[in-house]
Symmetry: C2
Subunit: 330 residues, 2 copies
C-alpha cells in the first residue's frame, strides 16, 4: 500500500530528484515501516547499475580513491554515480567516523553524483540491510555505477564481495602487517587490487608480494577461477591522480567479463534472493523474540526454558516447533 505522500515521493524519485533519493535512503536507514512498500515499487527498476565495492584497512585512502574515480567517470561523462560509504567501526553509537565523507568529496554539488554516509548498525555483523537497500535506491535512481565504500578486514570485506559485482581492495605501502594477516582472505575475494599512496616508498614491494601470492595460491581463487579472471594489481596515487585511469578501466573490464559470461544477471538474482531471506529472518526475529528480555511471542517461553535449565539445543528445537505451528509435548 503506497499512500499519497509516498506516491508523491516515488513520482519525484522517478523524475530523478535528489531530495527524493535522499528521503528514501533516510527511510531505509530508519527502518521506517513505510519504506517496505516504497522499496517494493522501485525494486523492479534496479539491476542496471554496476555495483563496485571498495574496501581495505583503515588509512589506505579509500575515500580519496573513490573521489578520483568519481572525477574520472564524470569527466568521461559516463552517467550518474552513487556512493554509499558505510562505517562499521562503531556498532553501539552508530559511529560518525565517515560522517564528514560527503563534505570531504570534491564532487559535492555535482547533480549526477549522490554520496551518502551510513553507519552500520546491524548487530549481527557486516552490512546492515539499509546499506544494501541504499545501493538499490541509487541503482533505481539511474546510477550507472554504485560504489560501496567501507573499512574492513575479514568479515566486512566478505560481505562487500557478496553484495557487489566487483570488489576492489585498496591497500597502501604502510599496511604491511595488516596485509600479511589478510592475504589469504583478500586473495579469495578481490577482483582488483589498488595499491594507493604509491608516492610513498614500498608500493613496488607490496605489489610484487601480492603478485607472488596470487601465483602461489591460485588454488584459493576458486570463484575467479571459474571466470578465468586474474585480479590485476595496480599502483595508484589518489593524491597525485596517478593510475586512476588504469583502475577505472580494470573495474569496467571486470564488469564486461561478468556480462560476457552471463554472471551479471545471475548475481543479481541471487542477491535479491539473499535479501528476501534476510528480511524473513529479521521479521521472524522481531516477532518471536522482539528486543529485550521476555519480549516477542516466544520471549517468555525462552525465559521459562532457561529458568528450568532446559538444554539450549532442546529449547531451540521446541521454540522452532512452536514457530512453525507444530504441536509438541514437553
Amino acid at each position: 500500500m503506497v499512500e499519497r505522500a509516498e506516491g508523491d515521493l516515488l513520482e519525484r524519485f522517478a523524475r530523478g530528484e535528489r531530495t527524493a533519493c535522499a528521503r528514501l535512503i533516510t527511510l531505509a536507514e530508519a527502518r521506517d515501516p513505510r519504506f517496505a512498500a516504497l522499496y517494493d515499487r522501485l525494486a523492479a527498476r534496479t539491476g542496471h547499475a554496476h555495483r563496485v565495492g571498495l574496501t581495505g584497512p583503515p588509512g589506505a585512502g579509500k575515500s580519496s580513491v573513490v573521489d578520483q574515480l568519481l572525477r574520472h567517470w564524470r569527466e568521461a561523462d559516463l552517467g550518474k554515480i552513487g556512493v554509499v560509504a558505510v562505517d562499521p567501526s562503531s556498532p553501539f553509537s552508530g559511529g560518525a567516523l565517515l560522517g564528514d565523507r560527503v563534505r570531504m568529496s570534491s564532487r559535492l554539488g555535482d547533480p549526477q553524483v549522490f554520496i551518502r554516509s551510513m553507519a552500520s548498525r546491524d548487530a549481527h555483523g557486516g552490512l546492515a540491510h539499509a546499506s544494501v537497500e541504499a545501493c538499490d535506491v541509487l541503482d533505481a535512481w539511474g546510477a550507472e555505477r554504485v560504489l560501496l565504500e567501507t573499512v574492513g578486514v575479514g568479515q566486512v570485506e566478505y560481505e562487500v564481495s557478496r553484495v557487489c559485482d566487483t570488489t576492489v581492495v585498496v591497500l597502501h605501502p604502510g599496511s604491511g602487517d595488516s596485509v600479511q594477516a589478510m592475504k589469504a582472505g583478500l586473495l579469495e575475494l578481490a577482483h582488483v587490487f589498488a595499491i594507493n599512496k604509491d608516492d610513498q616508498p614500498g608500493g613496488e614491494r607490496l605489489a610484487a608480494d601480492l603478485e607472488e601470492m596470487l601465483e602461489l595460491r591460485s588454488d584459493l581463487v576458486r570463484e575467479r577461477a571459474l571466470l578465468g579472471w586474474k585480479p590485476p594489481v595496480l599502483r595508484v596515487s589518489a593524491r597525485e591522480g596517478r593510475g586512476i585511469d588504469a583502475l577505472a578501466n580494470a573495474i569496467d573490464a571486470h564488469r564486461r567479463e561478468l556480462e560476457r559470461q552471463g554472471a551479471f544477471a545471475e548475481v543479481r538474482r541471487e542477491r535479491r534472493a539473499a535479501h528476501v531471506r534476510a528480511l524473513v529472518e529479521a521479521t521472524l526475529h522481531a516477532r518471536f523474540f522482539g528486543s529485550g528480555r521476555g519480549a516477542g511471542e516466544l520471549g517468555e517461553e525462552l525465559e521459562r526454558g532457561l529458568d528450568a535449565g532446559e538444554g539450549p539445543y532442546a529449547l531451540a528445537a521446541r521454540l522452532c516447533a512452536r514457530i512453525s505451528g507444530e504441536e509438541q509435548q514437553r
Copy 2:
C-alpha cells in the same frame, strides 16, 4: 538422546580428559548432529569460567600477549585455562592463518592448558556458533579462564565483547592509522587496553592519545559507565615479559567488579538466551531455505516469487506467514 559412544565421551570429559575435550570441540566445529545432545548435557556445567576476549588489529601481537598471560596464570597456579583462537579473515577457505597457533604456544604440553584454533566459517559475520560453543566446552572442562583470541576491527570486536565478560583490546605503537579509525568503536567496548610492543617507540604517545580519548568521549562509554569502570591503558611488552602482571591484575579486577555488581551471572543468562535465539534462527533457515537455490521447504516458493517479480518485502511477508502456519491468499 545420548548414545553409548557419546555417553563414554561425556564420561571421559567429566574426568577431565583432554582428548574428550578436543573431540567435543571437533564435533561442534563440524556441526555434527550428535553435538546437540552432548552440548545440552554439559551446558549445565558452564558459567564458572571467566571469559576474556582479546582482540585488536593484525600485527598487534595478540598471540604473544596470550602466551605471556598463560605463563603468568600458570606460574601462580590459578587453575586450568582454555584458549580459543578464531581466525575470521578467510571466510571461503576457512583460513589457516592461525593454524600454527597451537604449535606456537610455549604452553604446549601443559596439561592444565587447552589451546584450540578455529576458523570462523559463519557467512553471517562475526563469530560462528562453534567458537562460542568451544568456549562453553572449555568452561565445562573446568577452565577457570577461557581466552577468546581474534583478529578484528569493528564488527568482530563487537562480537567478542558480546560473548565475553572482559574485553581486552591489544594495540601496538605501529597501529597508528588503524587506531585512529577504530577509536570510537574501541572506546565503547574495551574494558582493558594493552599497548603491546612497548619496547618499540611510540607506546607512550599511543597511551596518552587513548587516555585523552577516554576523557573526552566519556559519553561513549555507556555500558562501562553503569559499572563505573574506567578502562586502564597498560603498556606491555610480551617479548620482554614486561607489564604482564599488571595486565593480568586488571583482567582479574574487572571480573571482581562484575561479580560485586551482580553482572557476572546476568551476563551469563543473557548470553545463553542469545545462543538459543541464534540456534532457532539457524534451524529455521536450514529448514526453510536450505543451502543453494530452491532448497528447503520454501526455497521454491521464493524462486517463484522472484520469477513473478514480487516485491522483496511483500514476498518476505508472505514467506513469514507460511512459516508461522498462517493461511494467506495471494
